[in-house]
Symmetry: C2
Subunit: 289 residues, 2 copies
């Protein structure tokens, strides 16, 4: 049932992209953008739509924001996969953009996907109130840029050449930026779209984001490349400090489980309406891809 809700959300986001790209001139870069937007789980877009529903908004009032976060996320994956970054040939079970096209095209595809994210948030169709649109742009920029995701990526790169391995607290801080910031934005989007206080969703999103990353680290050790659709077992080989490395496999699993309980508890004020978001929290640690 949760899987169906996730699929429904992904289909709605893809329909938004269908409409967006129908208005765009065809070009290899536009085709690369579409390619990079396909095949993901769509968790971030789902969180936006579900958070909007929790705040009383129908999905058609949140699909621009859902598409925006998926475009932003897709840009980060295309650039992360580049040879000068993580050098990955496989993503979502298919060749990465620089493998299917070339590196220069992958740089441009990622660049244009980031631009598209802000484009979507600034369109009148995103929210009737321009103050809401400006707030969505500003908060996404803070989550994505040098105060958020990019800072986390920079911390990750710096850690690879650091003299001493990262401590658990440092890995947590890094991941809060690298993956937590976008997941947080997604979960808070419904509040921003309705002008409500986003803080109540922050505790949920913080625990969810960390659980998601711990699950990723566990998957990197225990997962199957074919099922995951991306190259695994890379972190240990690269000597990266991971939650599994720091806590052990059992310790990481226990931590992820307690974070999911924490995320579920944070949703208590929303009552049974938040059931899908509770499912989402359990999903992130049970997934095999």
């Amino acid at each position: 049932m949760f899987a169906a809700a996730l699929d429904d959300a992904a289909a709605r986001v893809q329909a938004r992209f269908d409409a967006v790209f129908a208005d765009l001139p065809d070009s290899p870069i536009a085709r690369g953008m579409r390619y990079a937007l396909q095949g993901g789980k769509g968790l971030r877009g789902f969180l936006v739509l579900e958070s909007a529903r929790l705040h009383g908004l129908p999905p058609e009032r949140a699909d621009h924001a859902a598409a925006a976060i998926e475009a932003l996320h897709a840009y980060s994956l295309v650039h992360d996969d580049l040879p000068c970054m993580d050098d990955d040939a496989l993503r979502r079970g298919r060749p990465t953009v620089h493998v299917k096209w070339d590196e220069g095209s992958a740089v441009l595809v990622g660049d244009a996907l980031q631009t598209l994210a802000f484009d979507l948030l600034a369109r009148p169709g995103c929210a009737p109130d321009p103050a809401v649109r400006a707030d969505l742009v500003l908060s996404l920029a803070r989550a994505a840029g040098i105060t958020g995701m990019v800072l986390g990526q920079a911390q990750d790169i710096a850690a690879e050449t650091a003299a001493t391995p990262l401590t658990l607290d440092q890995v947590i801080a890094l991941q809060r930026n690298k993956t937590g910031a976008l997941i947080g934005w997604s979960a808070e989007a419904g509040a921003r779209l309705t002008g409500a206080d986003p803080a109540p969703m922050s505790a949920y999103a913080g625990a969810l984001g960390l659980a998601f990353q711990i699950a990723d680290d566990i998957l990197d050790v225990t997962g199957d490349t074919a099922t995951a659709g991306k190259q695994l077992h890379k972190d240990a080989e690269a000597g990266k400090a991971t939650f599994v490395g720091l806590l052990g496999l059992d310790g990481a699993r226990a931590r992820a489980k307690s974070l999911v309980a924490e995320a579920e508890a944070a949703l208590a004020p929303f009552g049974p309406d938040a059931e899908q978001l509770r499912h989402a929290a359990r999903f992130v640690i049970s997934r095999d891809h």
Copy 2:
């Protein structure tokens, strides 16, 4: 006197960046961003401030928008210079970001500079009216992304491997996207900031942008690398269709001159107030860097 006005504008934009970066955590990526923002002519930021003045706005009401377009432009240069793109080692008389740091850092520096551009436009300090901020974000996204600058870059890459060289009309169309769109946005920013119709500035900006690119092509042939601060003579070697190649050196000079006259004529409704923008038009074809 025009040179002094250009320097004043650049200093104002740098002061805005000083304030922005004082609030940011220090990191190699943040240092790379600062580095990439320094040493340019600041023409686009100048156009924003001057266009704002023409619409009755003091510079402190336009410096966020001026800094935003310089951040967006700097991102495009950092990524353009990458080995997988134009592979340039020299920019603004200094090593390019991937030479001074590394390729992965240059990707992240460019990414974060693009994010910063939208961040600046969405801040309340950019414009008190959120509808103006949302309009600035949307119009910059259209100018920068797959409908503007990135489309031009993609057309440029496609032309390199095309069976037949581009015609003059095709080169004009390409450059209107690749460099014209951001110059157009800059010149129209004052109108957008005041809620005025940006159309009257469009004719000026269109002619200016094309004159700028023709001057760039002339500089690539006749210029001195040390003065230009970047590698020259690359287009002819790469077999790219340029205005000089299509029109000859004298023909290109004549076309640039007539475009400047066109740009100046478009400013007629603004009277003597637009004198600095007329200077700017003459400057773009007389510059040696």
